[in-house]
């Protein structure tokens, strides 16, 4: 997966640089709880200053992986290294790694300042230095007026900041974040996502975040590892994960997608024709070595926003069956303000989803329920999925 699709947020791409040393490295790490395998022989490299997200549904092993990095769990097999030094067997209190806990785990009997100072006191730092660092952290998270308050006297957003300040106070080499924004409401969550990403960049720390929220992972992370059933399925930038998902599972888990099953047929160089079970044909360009053979069952995925919906038959072939288009009936409309979602029922009964940006305030001939519409897409708008 060396190709890069779409613009990357920054020029920061250590994973494309073969000379860049690994910062965190997992080698064939397995974690079993009794009969249950939470993480199954997984290897992973995370680079310095990277914002790395572990994304997956609950029970996929992402939290176990994070807890192994923190030292709360030891791998059953395999090795974990930080800057080339083994982490395995080092107890949590001796790791240069700090964690921001899900729902924060703030010490309820201590003030905000004491919570932040806790880690520094364990280090045996001088009192004056502790006071200075605590003041600095409070400034960083904009909580100076609340230093003397107890966690119970703070709002959810403020508690989240205290947790962040406490985890950052020791200036860890790696900050682990377990669903850091899960307890916040939507608006605050969106604001905090950008703040967190900015903070990570300005502090120059390595962040590893665990989340089940793909939007959170896409907004903040440099790279995302999508996990399922104890395995890492794909590690890539948010754009690659979205535009070039490795499997049907990822295409479906990250964002909305229409997936069509069909039989492959090779055309001329790099071109592939798929006769879908839904009765229409897809023609697409495939680059890379994994060109399927004639007659192979393949899946073709198109994101709803890449579907063009129109009343009129798209130009091109005026009659007869043409590839990359299909006719249907509007089954359902979801108006979200910025975009509208159209669920279109095909002749075979399948529902295909298309979204359209509501760019104009008024439309002359709006698409409405039960309309006969055409859905079409460009040959390079979709992705061929093998499994």
């Amino acid at each position: 997966m060396a190709k890069t699709l779409g613009p990357v947020r920054r020029s920061f791409q250590p994973w494309n640089d073969p000379s860049e040393p690994a910062y965190i490295e997992l080698r064939d790490v397995t974690k079993r709880f009794g009969d249950f395998t939470a993480v199954d022989r997984q290897s992973l490299v995370i680079y310095e200053r990277e914002f790395f997200a572990l994304l997956g549904p609950s029970g996929c092993g992402k939290t176990t992986l994070l807890r192994m990095l923190a030292g709360f769990e030891e791998p059953s097999e395999g090795e974990m290294l930080l800057q080339g030094r083994p982490l395995t067997g080092v107890p949590p209190h001796k790791r240069p790694v700090n964690m921001m806990f899900q729902s924060y785990a703030l010490f309820p009997h201590m003030s905000v300042a004491d919570n932040i100072a806790f880690g520094l006191k364990q280090e045996g730092m001088a009192k004056a230095d502790i006071a200075q660092r605590v003041a600095q952290m409070l400034r960083l998270v904009k909580l100076e007026p609340f230093a003397g308050r107890k966690p119970a006297q703070l709002s959810g957003g403020q508690q989240q900041r205290v947790a962040l300040a406490r985890a950052l106070a020791k200036r860890p080499k790696v900050l682990l974040l377990d669903e850091p924004l899960g307890a916040l409401d939507k608006k605050l969550r969106e604001e905090t996502q950008f703040e967190l990403a900015d903070l990570q960049e300005s502090l120059g720390l390595t962040f590893v975040i665990v989340t089940h929220d793909q939007e959170e992972a896409m907004t903040m992370a440099d790279r995302i590892a999508v996990m399922d059933h104890g395995r890492i399925i794909q590690v890539a930038t948010p754009a690659e994960i979205y535009e070039a998902p490795a499997t049907r599972y990822i295409a479906d888990f990250v964002g909305d997608v229409n997936i069509f099953e069909g039989q492959a047929e090779r055309l001329e160089e790099g071109k592939l024709r798929i006769a879908t079970t839904a009765g229409f044909a897809v023609e697409t360009v495939v680059n890379g070595p994994s060109l399927p053979a004639n007659g192979d069952t393949v899946w073709f995925a198109v994101r709803p926003e890449k579907m063009v919906i129109s009343h009129d038959r798209p130009a091109g072939a005026s009659s007869g069956p043409a590839p990359n288009m299909v006719e249907g009936e509007v089954w359902d409309i979801g108006y979200l303000g910025d975009v509208s979602i159209y669920n279109v029922k095909l002749a075979c009964g399948d529902i295909v989803r298309a979204t359209r940006l509501n760019a104009a305030r008024e439309v002359e001939r709006p698409i409405t329920w039960d309309d006969r519409v055409w859905l079409s897409w460009r040959p390079d708008s979709g992705v061929l999925l093998a499994g």
């Binding site: 107890p91 949590p92 001796k94 806990f101 785990a105 010490f107 880690g119 364990q122």
Partner: protein, 297 residues
């Protein structure tokens, strides 16, 4: 009308517990207080009533006698009994805490399925009469008892230890009898403790021991206080355990009370002893509660 009725209904509902407290706590207390302020008489009942009606209340108020309370301060026996009771109760509470904390901790950390069983095991002794259990300790602690036989059998001692009829037997008795009262509130507060707080402390560099002292112990203070009060208060006034297990020189206020009531038939002095004991216990508890409220705010 509806509002008035529901108001009255609410008043009645809240009145029930107050009425209970009034009849079974305040009234007996006032009777004891009255007796403590009267003079000893050799009669049946063995005291002179101070006032029999409200009409000569003022008249009689002048006759109220604080002699009994003065008497308590004059005779060193009572002060010694108080101090000795407090000491024995304090030491026993401390031992109960030291024994009970690890027990409660282990219970709170036990697998989910095992916890109800352990909880049952703690409560189980209550199913046998308290008196029988204390008597059983005589059999264990006496010179030819089980404990001494076992120790001699193991070759650890050659002469039987004199445990029964000493303060040690009283400590053992109190710790044994009151342990559940310590373990249960401790268990309740430890079981509620969020384990992620311990993880957070260790993540921030605290050793497991430090995490225990800085996080677990402070957060279990409500359990420690509740358990200690539940042990300390009855232990101060304990009568059966020192009477059965303690020696003739084990001085405790409960025993003194008993002697005053049944041997000396001096009800007023006995009542004064009881009232003073109550004040001695209530005042520090009230002060402590006020401090707790302040700390919570």
């Amino acid at each position: 009308m509806q509002g008035l009725r529901s108001f009255l209904a609410r008043q009645v509902v809240t009145a029930v517990p107050y009425l209970w407290l009034l009849v079974f706590f305040l009234a007996p207390f006032l009777i004891v207080l009255k007796i403590s302020l009267s003079e000893t008489a050799i009669a049946m009942p063995p005291y002179t009533p101070v006032f029999e009606g409200l009409k000569d209340l003022l008249e009689k108020a002048k006759q109220l006698s604080f002699d009994n309370y003065l008497w308590l301060t004059e005779d060193a026996l009572y002060i010694k009994a108080y101090l000795s009771s407090l000491r024995i109760a304090l030491v026993s509470t401390l031992i109960t805490l030291i024994v009970g904390y690890p027990l409660a901790y282990a219970m709170a950390r036990a697998p989910d399925g095992l916890r109800p069983v352990l909880l049952m095991a703690v409560i189980l002794p209550f199913w046998t009469s308290f008196l029988i259990r204390v008597y059983a300790w005589i059999g264990i602690l006496k010179p030819e008892g089980l404990l001494n036989q076992a120790l001699i059998g193991l070759g650890l001692i050659s002469e039987p230890l004199q445990i029964i009829n000493t303060d040690w037997a009283v400590y053992i008795g109190i710790v044994y009898s009151y342990l559940p009262f310590m373990v249960l509130p401790l268990y309740a507060s430890l079981e509620r403790l969020d384990l992620r707080l311990i993880e957070a402390a260790m993540d921030l560099g605290a050793t497991p021991l430090k995490a225990f002292w800085r996080i677990t112990v402070p957060l279990s203070v409500p359990g420690i206080v509740a358990g200690s009060l539940l042990v300390f208060i009855p232990a101060v006034g304990e009568f059966v355990i020192p009477d059965l297990l303690g020696g003739s020189d084990t001085l405790m206020i409960g025993r003194t009370l008993w002697v005053e009531f049944f041997y000396n038939r001096d009800w007023p002095v006995a009542s004064a002893v009881a009232i003073l004991l109550l004040i001695l216990l209530v005042v520090p508890i009230v002060i402590f509660q006020k401090m707790q409220e302040k700390a919570a705010r």
